[in-house]
Amino acid sequence: MTAYLLRRLLSLCLSLIAASLVIFLVMEMVPGDPASFMMGLNADPAAVAALRSQLGLDAPLPLRYLGWVAGLLQGDFGVSYTYRVPVSELIAERVVISLPLTLYALTLSTLIAFPAGIIAAARRNSFADFSVMGATQFGVAIPNFWFAMILVLIFSINLRWMSAGGFPGWEAGFGSAMKALTLPAIALALPQASILARVMRSSLIDTLEEDFMRTARAKGLSRSQALWRHALRNALIPVLTIIGLQFSFLLAGGIIIENVFYLPGLGRLVFQAITQRDLIVVRSVVILLVFAVIVVTFLVDLAYAAVDPRLRRHRQ
């Protein structure tokens, strides 16, 4: 396990370096000079040059990259071109909305998918199975931002149960903050729940047909006892991987949903930054999200190997 862990850690570091390099180089391709952009059209060239030097933009490319990475390692993302405050502050303000939203949606998705997938698998080819599978077909076909709009139409405009958007802040109380995140989380969770329910169903069906399940039944366990005691645990391995992957989908998908509900999270921040050409903010949010995806994938891989020792040997 130690050798496997070291190998995976090395590969994690390489991935992080490669991702940072790609993001840095792509953002370097942007035409135009941030310093002249910040100073405006009629700026004094000497002042622009001074700002360039202050922002470290006059250093050679490799040095700029290393400086940026060194900053990242200390949690210093640089200073926003438009807001003139440290990007880390902007991100810290927004992440307390985006991250809870992602986790809320992931929880909802799992809570919906598990029972649906288990019922469909346990009663294969029954009416319940067909209903679940039919619902999941629609679930994956519905764009989540459209679903979000329909939720607003029903629950905010017609029934007036929820607000149509905005976020009161955590200081307004846990309950009202969670209420503001509920419709966005449902909208985000729907497609992922559909995918997860299908994976749960097919994984459980595969497991139910294994020899050890026949043995369990032959030992005298009832169908449902065998399912709960033996099948479910084995069927969970592929499901866990998908849950890990979904974290990144939800984190990225949140960018769109935040726009539907006017939630001041990372998604709103990145779109405002794009329109204001505040590229240091775009770069920072993108690298943060990509790092999150890489690290979560790494953790899922480790969990996978811990659950199934065969994988440590046959990794490739």
């Binding site: 590969s11 390489l14 991935s15 490669a18 991702a19 790609v22 993001i23 792509v26 953002m27 391709m29 942007v30 698998a121 294969r124 077909q137 629609f138 994956v140 076909a141 519905i142 764009p143 931002f145 459209w146 709009m149 329909i150 607003v152 139409l153 405009i157 995918i195 299908r198 994976v199 169903r201 097919s202 994984s203 069906i205 595969d206 592929p238 990144s248 989908f249 984190l251 990225a252 998908g253 960018i255 769109i256 726009n259 539907v260 990145v270 779109f271 794009i274 050409r277 590229l279 775009v282 993108v286 999200l289 990509v290 995806v293 890489i294 994938t297």
Partner: protein, 287 residues
């Protein structure tokens, strides 16, 4: 898997008796025809503004009603179908065109450094969710349909590279490939003449699934303003316009949404059906 893709009569018969395949095909064909028809005819000019008839609900004249500029929604959905399908088609084409050769090459040189580099490169692209890739590309090059195509296309490359490599690896150990090697054929020729035809079915099935994902991705990008730009109508853009008017004119949100759902549903059903057809083992429990 080794069956060739030539549709002989028994496959055709099986296909016609497969309900979800037929429904999926019909739904997809409907939107493709709608898109093609929009090239020569739409009930109204989809870019023509008519403030006098703005925000009208569905009627005999305007089947799906009109938007806040009085444009005919049905005509806009027809042209939107064209944009969606074109973007998805080219994006999946990029994925297949670059991903499959990469995957075949990696499989032919399995275990080599090139194989390792290609696969790690794939992992790296996978770490960038399509949307983030699009955001970066748009931040650099500006929004537009072409950049949406590039972003979705890049995202598709590792999908097809992994699929092609995985499928090709198992074929390289088969006798018919060994026979081809004994007869003196090179790795490139074997990949093209023997491996590719045998993985075509898998690629077509995956292509259908990726096509539906690309339609969803295009709609999402257009919705946040990173896709096709006005006055070119696109489904995502129409939904963005509808958002602030949803209580006044819900039809503006409903119809483009239905168009996306039906198209994606059609493609998914078709993908499931094709998969069943080519791999009956999977018929019972697709994830």
């Amino acid at each position: 898997m080794t069956r060739s893709f030539a549709p002989d009569r028994s496959i055709l018969k099986m296909a016609l008796s497969h309900r979800s395949l037929v429904i999926g095909f019909l739904l997809t064909a409907f939107f493709v025809l709608l898109a093609l028809l929009s090239l020569v005819w739409t009930p109204f000019d989809p870019t023509k503004l008519s403030i006098a008839t703005k925000l009208k609900g569905p009627s005999f004249d305007h089947w799906f009603g009109t938007d806040h500029f009085g444009r005919d929604m049905f005509s806009m959905i027809m042209v939107g179908a064209r944009v969606s399908i074109a973007v998805a088609f080219v994006a999946v084409g990029i994925g297949i065109g670059l991903g499959v050769p990469l995957g075949l090459y990696a499989a032919a040189r399995r275990g080599s450094l090139t194989d390792e580099i290609i696969m790690r490169g794939n992992d790296l692209v996978f770490a960038f969710p399509a949307l983030l890739l699009a955001i970066m590309i748009t931040a650099v090059f500006g929004p537009g349909a072409i950049n949406a195509i590039i972003a979705i296309g890049i995202f598709n490359i590792p999908v097809f590279a992994r699929l092609a490599r995985g499928a090709a690896l198992s074929l390289w150990t088969r006798d018919f490939v060994l026979a081809a090697r004994v007869s003196g054929k090179g790795k490139a020729r074997i990949s093209i003449e023997h491996i590719l035809p045998n993985i075509a079915n898998l690629l077509i099935v995956q292509g259908t699934i990726q096509f539906s994902l690309a339609i969803l991705a295009e709609a999402a990008l257009a919705y946040v303003g990173l896709g096709a730009q006005p006055p070119l109508p696109s489904w995502g853009r129409m939904l963005a316009d509808a958002q602030t008017l949803i209580s006044l004119a819900p039809h503006m949100a409903l119809f483009p949404g239905f168009a996306i759902i039906i198209t994606v549903l059609g493609l998914n059903l078709m993908g499931d059906g094709l998969r069943d057809l080519y791999d009956p083992k999977l018929r019972r429990g697709r994830g």
